[in-house]
Symmetry: C2
Subunit: 193 residues, 2 copies
Amino acid sequence: MLELEERIRQQGTVKPGNVLKVDAFLNHQCDVALFDAMGAAWAEHFQGKPITKILTIEASGIGIACVAARHFDNVPVVFAKKAQSINLDGEQYVTQVYSFTKQREFPVIVAKKFLSADDHVLIIDDFLANGKALQGLIELCEDAGATVEGIGIAIEKGFQGGGDRLREAGFDLDSLAIVESMDADNGTVTFRH
Amino acid sequence: MLELEERIRQQGTVKPGNVLKVDAFLNHQCDVALFDAMGAAWAEHFQGKPITKILTIEASGIGIACVAARHFDNVPVVFAKKAQSINLDGEQYVTQVYSFTKQREFPVIVAKKFLSADDHVLIIDDFLANGKALQGLIELCEDAGATVEGIGIAIEKGFQGGGDRLREAGFDLDSLAIVESMDADNGTVTFRH
């Protein structure tokens, strides 16, 4: 998606350790017009799939998923939680995910009443690197017997391999910008096309 | 807002300890058509105010704020973070907020580059009870020299007093449903009108 690539070039910052900061428009400050265009792009890609629910994970995925849902007949968005809380009760699907960013495991939790074998799920998230968080969401869908119809990602770090493993496993993965390489010294980002 | 009150009556659950669970449509599963109607209601209430930015806090406020922003000329949404992360760098506005739910203090953080003295801010959040989290967001705006033009809340627990304190302090607070009382024994909710 050219518009997203342009924004990454203009407003993204490459930091040492393969960190791509896009907090100006994606995951701290949010450009909702861009989110809307992203939703339209996914709606075109996943056209014809009988999607009944969008699944994402807190926090950065939520805004993107909610704006994108407007392009999918307003299907409900469910966001997985990363911690237990008093607001979570009843039976839950839970899995553990290792975060390289945080250097620790965290739980990924969805209440059972919001994910079922009748659901045809589109998973949406802001970033895909090694794919651990996404794998957690896929596991929850499998536990529920739900069908994963597709995965919509804003920015995939192609060089970390998580996206290609999902494609090889047969998932219909639509990443709107795939970073092939990036260079912290001169701040450049190269995209896969 | 009648539509929101109806949903609370139909799908909300009252739990002991003044807990109102609305995870079926507001803060775990999200009804984005309802969020859109909420955004339209706030746009009507805050009509004429020169809003340049919507400020919310992770996680449950993000979806509501992003969908609502579509009704405010797509102004940027900034969501305050509740923890430090490697994705936060540069100078920050930070304050500490006490959470009765979690029984501990947590930080409320916004990068300085996303909030300035030029900003006219609409604060949006899903819940207002004692108002501690909201007070934290207001403090960050004050630190930045930004103008708080208004506060849009989905559900205010009127009996906890946080909303009335903000109104007395002169804030233009628009809560779409104000719970006057609730009863865990028979599951009833009474609204203020």
